[in-house]
């Protein structure tokens, strides 16, 4: 252990896989995912919790991983954008983004996908204005947001319908 870079051992489940690692105490979680695990789909835009590029799910909740230290992931479940595709195909949320042209440069897209994944798990339909409020923690400079809102609205409706059908059965 270097004097400049004190390190800590952690065990974390990332996208279903148990990972044990030694992380510098001052390494934030987004850097850990990118640099130590090669999960470069999680992006970094401001490192002060404003832009939302680094949003991932920690124990099912959408969090900005630049505001967490890697050591705080110890014992937690992490889900990143790399986990979303199903059988090498886009999942319904990703497909909705593609259908609605909800991405341009794509740098913010993982942040919106993970935020929307957490939203969809609530199983609620939301109005477009409610969706706009829910996703206001992730910035996009390309799209003007409208198509992102449409894609998420479509996905929330599909998810709510599927939940209702399950309950009915």
């Amino acid at each position: 252990m270097s004097a400049l870079e004190p390190e800590v051992d952690i065990t974390v489940t990332v996208n279903g896989e148990i990972v044990t690692a030694r992380a510098p105490a001052r390494l934030h979680a987004a850097d850990f995912l990118r640099q130590r695990l090669g999960l470069t789909g999680t992006h970094i835009g401001c490192e002060q919790g404003v832009c939302g590029m680094c949003t991932v799910l920690v124990d099912g909740e959408a969090v900005k991983s630049c505001l967490m230290l890697a050591v705080q992931l110890d014992g937690r479940q992490v889900q990143t954008v790399e986990s979303l595709a199903e059988d090498d195909r886009l999942n319904p949320l990703q497909q909705a983004f593609k259908d609605e042209h909800a991405l341009q440069c794509g740098f913010c897209t993982p942040g919106f996908l993970m935020t929307a994944t957490a939203l969809a798990r609530r199983g609620e339909r939301l109005s477009r204005n409610e969706i706009r409020e829910e996703i206001a923690g992730v910035l996009c400079r390309c799209t003007g947001y409208d198509n992102i809102v449409k894609a998420i609205e479509k996905h929330l409706e599909e998810t709510a319908d599927a939940d209702a059908a399950r309950v009915a059965r």
Partner: protein, 796 residues
Amino acid sequence: MTHILERPTGPLGGSHDDRTDAIGSNVPRKEDDRLLRGDGRFTDDVEPPHVLHMAVGRCPFPHAQILGIDTSAALEVEGVKHILIGSDVRAATEPLTVLRPVPGAPDLHYYALAQDVATYEGQPVVSVVATSRHIAEDALELIDIDYEPLPHVVDVIAALEPDAPVIHPHVLGSNLLVSNRDESGDPEARMAEADVVVAGRFRINRVTGLPMETRGIVVEWRPGARELTVHTSTQVPHLVRKQLAESLRLDEGEIRAVASDVGGGFGLKLGIYPEDVLACLHAMALRRPVKWTEDRSEHFRATTHAREAVHDFRIGATADGRMTAMTNVYATDLGGWNSSFGSAQLSSVVFNGPYKIEDGSVERRVIVTNKTPIGAYRGYGQPEVNFAYERLVDQLARRLDMDPLELRAMNMVRPTDMPWRNPSGAVYDSGDYELCLRMAGDAVGYDEHRKAVRGPRPDGRYVGIGLSSFVERTGYASSRFLARRGSQFGAHESVTLRANRSGGVDLYTGVSTMGQSSETAFAQVTSSVLGIAYDKVSVHAGDTAASPLNTGAFASRTMIAAAGALKDAATQLRDKTLRLAAWRLETEVGTLEVAGDRVQHRSDPDRYVLLSEVFSMAILGQGLPPDEEPGLEATAHFEPPDAAYSFGTAAAVVSVDPNTGDFDVERFVLVHDCGTVVNPKVVDGQVRGALVQGLGAALSEELRYDADSGQLVNGTMMDYFAPSAADVPPIELLHTEVPSPVTTFGVRGVGEVGTIPPGAAVANAICDALADFGVELSTLPITPESVWKALREQRA
């Protein structure tokens, strides 16, 4: 009236023979799957083995002499590998070059690290490479730099006053870098004769494009191979290669620049920055890969800013509303140095907007200040000047007691006038400006609003409608135009198409992918012309080692120029494909067509040969007709004969609380024409995204400098307010489609248009709402506070 998303699909313009339904249709984007799955490859995603990390120490003062730098303590830190200071850089490099100089401007030698004097807060002074970014930043803390702060000036007007400190005294006698003037007719005589002259001073705020991905670079140097590989987040890989070669004293052939996925550019990633030269120098000294990723706090100080300008504008008119003259003198900020694209130049080109002015003059004065350098940003001067002339047109309407829409309509250039040369020499090619204006008025119920009794709504708010009409130059008016201005790039675009044995076509382009959907649009055009299935076109973008030498993605020029190159290359490929297939099928070329994955008889589709077979014939050189050479690829270059001018009108409906100045943009409509549309969804996305940037710049974004300290006071995302999803007003897009006669397929540029009209449209709406209070706004951004202050001044 056609809504952009409900427009008919199918072939548009041009010869039907060259089309499948790919041009004009919403094909799925080539770029999407990788970006949706986290498989994009942005610069910071590139991680070579044994990579080292760079951190840059920056001047904390707006203007300071550097008396000494002591790096000894930093060099002792475990993990620190290399440190560069100004004298090292001066010995090893040439100054950074400028791609788009201000015409007639002297050279301000700019090295990657400050020499004796730093001229803005954030200018690089020292750089450190270490085994981790953390350690490199720790080491920066230990470097002792002895600064002598110098007098500074941050305001563009104050910078011209006689007592202002001269920022580049070795080159300039004042802070005026240069002034340029364009004129036609005799505007002063027309002003003297005019029944009415309106004049105003309009201030446009300093903003930044704020791409979500900051800049970054990863450098690998193999001295034995003389090969410098540079992964970088840029819009112009081939121009980065040129500039790096010039600064590093290398041959271009020794440099490979790669930009695969770029997380937004908007003009900020045009050409090299100091950090690019520094990372290369470190990597070459250490023979180890070096990486630098700009952090957001650096980005706010080290990546170019935009827009800041003061426009003095006059319009002369007859009593019945005919505009007879326009003059515009403006001061535009350069910042502390001349960046690759310097200060915005297009204010001059379209200063008269859509109005038919024969007697006009425009003078640009480029001013040096102690602030972060200005560079290109979406719109490049056109949003600034639009705010000035469109605000003033509304003031003229009030002076003449005329309807602002009718005043605009009667002065617009008419379709029958075009091509028409404006006072600065721009040739407006075609279009129906008045139609867009009237469509915008109809969409927001303009006539009803004008007829309604003025006064507050039941909720106490006053409602106004504001218009902003514009003409936008897209692309460049030829390489001759660029040569006269000293620009270091061409007006053309270049592309290579190469058949492969799987029956597909590989498309190689130096245009990097930054959200503009060029991979998709290029594949659409190739598919349309060649007849091959869209899915069988593989696009390889942004690598100088695997693309023809091109210009790059900026100035809304990519499609304007690339469409011609793509058409030419795809035609060459198609013609040879048909000749080989005719030989193979023992028939005449004229009886065949390329269709998806095969070449087939037009009248008997069951008689066909697969493209994979035809392409293999050419690639193997086996089974060819006796007069054919082996191989199947084509490189084409295309320069359009002139720039294409997009146009349109925005209409904003805004309600205002006259007590607090609080306002809501309740509707925002843009009617726009970008000529032939290649992909409607992509066009919609470009226009909408740019509009939101324009609304941000008009209503919430401003980089503020404190005059006393010269410091940037809001250089973080916490206090620079780019719009979030919750901040965007309802936007409706309408559309006309007049093909441009000067481009292949009739396309006009589309990437920047949305940034132009929001400021004037919203300001005009607020001033319309508050007309009874006498409010005239002349400064951006417009905030509830600024509206409240304007109300208070009128009441006082």
